[in-house]
């Protein structure tokens, strides 16, 4: 998803851009009152920004398309699940990058309008590295334009998907010029895990990074969310491990039971209502119960998390990590 806070239409209010697994990005437009509900981010003809595969909301099915391919180019199958706005050509308005979850390319839609009235181009043009399309190893989970080296040019921070547990974080330094970006081989900020992980020590699949000076020491630290996929071989547990397992499993099961009870309470409250009224009442109750539902889900997930090294089945754990930049120490 990889949210980006940016004043996309230069109206003085931050908007919120986000990609989606449905294959096209959204924008929640900001105003003095706050954010509006998200809407499709669209090109100059009013079409959703799509690569080659997307979810058709009307037909309710995955759909393939080559409509938006760059003329003369035959890109591999692409699914745009991430978005980032940046002034690519340094003309004072924001252009849009789309990350390709399927083939690892990053595509550009230039803004041919203005900062106040964006009008994005109609075709997906792959960004290039020394003249050939840049391909991110392990496919693109997301990308962000960052200023890594204070050379006045934005650089690209990319998190990869990593189809085999080899997700990583790359930094493509911009070695071009203002208005004409170009990229060399990437710096590897978080390398692919070289071997299967034995604990939730880092994400290894679907990595979503950001850079920020978290410890205030003047350099950029790495924040990265994603999934840690584990599949540990079975072994005998020690007595202490068995006890820990029992305690945490009880906590997890209690949270799950509480969650099920809340859901049952909602269903009981709507079961005798006419269909339309039931739908609306269910939605209201889900909203009212949301904090408790969330708390149960998180408590259950926390217990699961603590059992990760003692779990001998294929399982994924999702959380956010920070790795401090220690270069200057």
């Amino acid at each position: 998803m990889s949210p980006q806070f940016v004043d996309f239409d230069a109206d003085g209010h931050l908007d919120l851009l986000a990609g989606s697994f449905g294959g096209s990005p959204y924008i929640a437009r900001g105003s003095a009152k706050g954010f509006g509900q998200p809407e499709d981010l669209r090109d100059g003809k009013g079409e959703r920004l799509i690569l080659n595969q997307y979810w058709d909301h009307e037909q309710e099915q995955w759909t393939q398309a080559t409509t938006w391919n760059e003329p003369g180019q035959e890109p591999p199958e692409g699914q745009g699940t991430s978005v980032f706005a940046v002034d690519w050509d340094a003309d004072g308005d924001l252009d849009v990058l789309l990350g390709d979850y399927m083939a690892g390319r990053i595509y550009l839609r230039l803004n041919e309008g203005s900062a106040r009235e964006p009008r994005l181009t109609l075709f997906n043009v792959a960004i290039r590295s020394a003249g050939t399309p840049l391909v991110v190893p392990g496919k693109v989970a997301t990308m962000r334009a960052v200023h890594w080296d204070a050379d006045g040019l934005f650089d690209l921070l990319v998190g990869s998907v990593g189809k085999k547990g080899d997700g990583a974080v790359y930094l493509y330094r911009n070695i071009g010029k203002v208005g004409a970006p170009d990229f060399g081989a990437p710096l590897v900020l978080l390398a692919p895990a070289g071997a299967p992980l034995t604990n939730v020590s880092r994400p290894n699949h679907g990595l979503y990074p950001d850079l920020f000076d978290l410890d205030g020491d003047g350099d950029l630290d790495l924040l990265v969310g994603g999934s840690t996929d584990l599949n540990l071989p079975k072994r005998e547990l020690s007595a202490a491990e068995k006890e820990h397992h029992l305690t945490q499993a009880k906590r997890r099961d209690a949270a799950k039971e509480e969650l099920a009870a809340l859901r049952a309470e909602i269903e009981a409250a709507v079961k005798d209502l006419p269909e339309e009224e039931a739908t609306s009442r269910r939605k209201a109750l889900q909203q009212e119960f949301a904090p408790r539902l969330r708390d149960c889900s998180r408590r259950s997930a926390m217990a699961d998390f603590s059992l990760a090294p003692l779990t001998f089945e294929r399982k994924s754990y999702h959380t956010v990590f920070v790795a401090l930049n220690e270069s200057g120490r």
Binding site: F5, K33, G34, P38, G184, G226, Q287, V322, N325, S327
Partner: protein, 99 residues
């Protein structure tokens, strides 16, 4: 490469740059829970959501939900409050539809 100190690989024309390294990744705490726990593919970004001058931890996920964990005031390493949904101006949760 060890999981501990993550040396930054320098490739091609950047080989003359000084060696960079990141410390061992550590889970980020948000209130009493871990940030992103119970969600799918959490994607963090730092942003001052409440205008107090401190960047907060904003996390999106595969479901299309966005939360804010406010950075708590104080010295030392940053500490964040619990994940709370980011609300739209209509008072409802901001939800980015997925598929």
């Amino acid at each position: 490469m060890l999981l501990g100190t993550l040396g930054v690989a320098l490739v091609g024309s950047f080989a003359q740059q000084p060696t960079l390294s990141f410390g061992t990744p550590e889970c980020v705490q948000a209130g009493t829970m871990l940030a992103g726990i119970g969600r799918l593919y959490p994607s963090p970004v730092m942003h001052d959501a409440d205008g107090d001058g401190l960047a907060d931890l904003v996390v999106g996920d595969l479901f299309g939900t966005v939360t804010v964990s406010k950075r708590l005031a104080g010295d030392g390493p940053p500490r964040f409050g619990p994940e709370e949904p980011l609300l739209a101006s209509d008072g409802n949760k901001l939800v980015f539809n997925n598929w």
